[in-house]
Amino acid sequence: MSKVLVVDPSKCTGCHRCEMWCSLTKYGEINPSRSNVYVIRREPAVDVPVVCVQCGLCVDVCPVEALKRNGKTDAVVVDAESCTGCGTCVKVCPYGVLRIDEETDTAAKCDLCGGSPACAGHCPHGAIRYEDAGKAAARRREQWATAIAIKIS
């Protein structure tokens, strides 16, 4: 089974290093607004990294078939050659993690760095991990369940 990115907001300190690593790796500059991982830091005390879950909803709506699934990583990747920057994919992404890059005028999204994600590899607190899909699913179940459980303490 392939691997996916999984986040644990309770570990995130809101440092934004994942965003910086993403933009450095993808675009050779440090620029959190050109990142494909998004850290939402709000008050009071909200720090949540938001990543693409590679669900593929965007693939289906692209009118020119510029979004394709990569056979090796299962990541949904943008073919910049055919992308017209129309933004249909932006409208449909349920997590808001797809954007039109201002410099290239094409869709930009996480491609799992070809199988060695810079964000997960460098998160100082293990809040983003690149894990086996099965293990990640178990972790998500756990998070989901504890988040909605009634706290008795």
């Binding site: 300190t13 934004h16 050779g28 440090i30 050109r34 008050e43």
Partner: protein, 626 residues
């Protein structure tokens, strides 16, 4: 330009003029940036004798090359100005998101001049700036101001640096608070901005920082991240800096009851362990920081209830706690919260209250002076009440708002020996009689007065940590121990001071730079980072020279204001032995001998303590001679 944005923003609040100036790459490299370059700007642009609260006073918001980059300590910015509290050079550092966002908005420096006719705030976004009305914000606290600005701009990603009521009212140690709980704390920058009618500076931008050699940069940052896994002070973020309190107390170096002693009998009630177990909500980091020493806490009910808020840090916990004899942690968190929202430096606030308590004990202040509040050691409610009064300069708060040096001047000579400050800046929570004699020297010579931050902690060398200076000629290993006051250490003090100054001129936080090869950001590693980031062929030696330039220039700034060797003094109490506790008997005996050795190593004149003409020429600072 790589690493830097290459732009300086100049805003004149009197005329409303806004200018963008291109920075000269050669000049930038000479000073490296941040406080080094700000020292050059203020030295050249602000003549001696300017009243820090007059429209003629200038303020420089400075970032460095590593601010907002992946450098693991790169979340800082510094506000450089002449302090109304001390009359000296001041640099107030803060983390949070403001520094990085100023750079993403397109500017390395912001120079604020003049005085607005009515309250304003400054919005800096994507290479442009706008002066916006702030009459509706005047009188609001920092949190309300931050919320109001975020709402009216409809942009939750902006970083807001604001003053509260303390700054508006001219409390001489009012702070500037960015991102709600991060303080450019010391020296009264809040009062300076208040005097300019500048309520807040707001930054955001989508510009990136260009990296000269991205691949090399990724490699060296990767190496830095690996090295920092061995960082000798790595335990700090687990508990936050407040976690240091118990250990310091056990060693008899927790300043207590206005530095009367170094041991607090009820320290376990206010220790980091309690904060973490009962009040911590979560850990939080400054923008870009891999260390993450900050935390959010709240007191959920009772008379000291607070909403979630950053802190308390070690300094604050001691200053609003043991320094005032207080053992109620909820009151400390409440006091911290109030300092954050009113915009007060917790260190000067705490000592001013502690000083008042000692004066009350000695009968120098009576109930008539204190609005009927008995200022007894350990009265938690009185402390919290006084924080309110200070921020509003109400009753006794008006006196306390002046800081201990001026308070002592008003209360007369008998108060003098209880006034714990250097050059007017109150001592922070590190007991110089015990912790390390290098710290005592640092307090005496630091350009902004008693300061544990600038440059960062020469005493680490005494802790048997070489900070990467071994290669650069530092005597190693340290001899004589931390309490040794022999002049032999002068050369080492010079080197470690400059090592610390490197983080000041690069825009880095002080954490991460204490250790050695393989465990911290040494000058050598900073040079590698700078090389890949800027494309310049930077060496560790070049960084040390730039640091020395900056350190000398700040000294020259103060010299023009009349400060010299006579002002490199410690409070009288520090030369007297600690009366009790684990460190009983410790004192600073030979400050003058240590100063002689330090000045000599710095190439400064022994009798005046000032840089010689030869030294300044050697550093390319001819303009500062005389």
């Amino acid at each position: 330009m790589y690493g830097y944005t290459g732009n300086l923003l100049r805003v004149n609040l009197t005329s409303g003029e806004i200018k963008v100036e291109k920075l000269d790459e050669k000049e930038l490299r000479k000073y490296m940036g941040c406080t080094g370059y700000a020292a050059k700007l203020l030295y050249q642009e602000m003549p001696a004798g300017v009243d820090p609260l007059a429209p003629e006073a200038k303020v420089v918001f400075a970032t460095g090359a590593v601010t907002g980059t992946l450098c693991p300590s790169g979340g800082s910015y510094e506000v450089c100005y002449k302090s109304p509290l001390t009359g000296t050079w001041n640099e107030a550092r803060s983390g949070g998101a403001f520094g990085p966002k100023l750079k993403y908005a397109g500017f390395d420096f912001l120079v604020v001049e003049g005085k607005a006719e009515e309250p304003v705030y400054l919005l800096i976004k994507d290479g442009r700036a706008e002066i916006k009305p702030a009459k509706h914000l005047w009188g609001l606290n920092v949190e309300e101001t931050t919320d109001a600005i975020i709402n009216e701009l409809d942009d939750p990603e902006v970083s807001v640096a604001a003053i509260g009521q303390a700054g508006e009212n001219g409390v001489l140690y009012a702070a500037l608070i960015n991102d709600r709980g991060r303080a450019a704390g010391r020296g009264g920058i809040g009062a300076v901005l208040g005097s300019k009618n500048l309520k807040a500076v707001v930054a955001n931008g989508s510009g990136g920082i260009k990296v000269a050699r991205p691949k090399e940069f990724a490699e060296v940052i990767d190496k830095a991240e690996q090295w920092l896994k061995n960082y000798p002070f790595a335990a700090i973020p687990e508990m936050g800096t407040v976690g240091l309190l118990s250990g310091n107390n056990a060693m008899g170096m927790l300043p207590t009851r206005n530095f009367q002693t170094g041991f607090f009998e009820n320290a376990d009630k206010v220790a980091g362990e309690v904060v973490n177990r009962k009040y911590q909500i979560k850990r939080r980091a400054c923008y870009g920081c891999s260390f993450g020493c900050g935390r959010y806490t709240a007191v959920s009910g009772g008379k000291f209830a607070t909403p979630p808020m950053e802190g308390p840090e070690y300094e604050t916990a001691d200053m609003l706690g043991p320094i005032c004899g207080v053992d109620d942690i909820e009151a400390i968190i409440r006091g911290n919260f109030l300092c954050n929202v009113y915009g007060l430096d917790t260190i000067s606030t705490g000592i001013s209250i502690g000083f008042a308590m000692e004066c009350y004990e000695r009968g120098l202040l009576t109930d008539r002076d204190t609005d009927g509040i008995p200022l007894r050691w350990g009265d938690a409610e009185a402390v919290v009440k006084l924080v309110e009064k200070i921020a509003h300069r109400e009753g006794i708060g008006d006196l306390l708002a002046l800081g201990v040096k001026r308070m002592a001047e008003k209360l007369g000579p008998r108060a003098e020996d209880a006034a714990i400050h250097v050059k007017g800046l109150e001592l922070p929570a590190h007991e110089p009689r015990v912790e390390s004699k290098a710290l005592a020297v640092q307090y005496a010579v630091s350009p902004r007065g008693a300061c544990h931050m600038h440059p960062n902690w020469p005493s680490t060398w005494d802790f048997q940590v070489d900070c990467g200076m071994k290669d650069l000629g530092i005597p190693w290993p340290p001899t004589g121990g931390m309490q040794d006051e022999s002049p032999v250490k002068g050369v080492a003090y010079r080197y470690v001071a400059l090592q610390g100054e490197i983080s000041e001129i690069l825009g880095a936080c002080i954490f991460h730079s204490w250790g050695s090869e393989g465990s911290c950001l040494t000058p050598q590693l900073y040079a590698e980072i700078m090389k890949a980031l800027t494309g310049w062929d930077v060496t560790a030696e070049e960084l040390v020279t730039a640091a020395e330039r900056s350190w000398n220039l700040k000294r020259c700034f103060n010299a023009r204001e009349g400060f010299d060797r006579k002002d490199d003094r410690l409070p009288k109490r520090i030369s007297e032995p600690i009366p009790d506790g684990p460190s009983a008997g410790a004192r600073v005996e030979n400050l003058d001998r240590m100063l002689d050795a330090y000045y000599e190593a710095m190439g400064w004149d022994r009798s005046t303590g000032l840089p010689t003409a030869g030294k300044l020429k050697e550093l390319g600072l001819e303009f500062a001679v005389g």
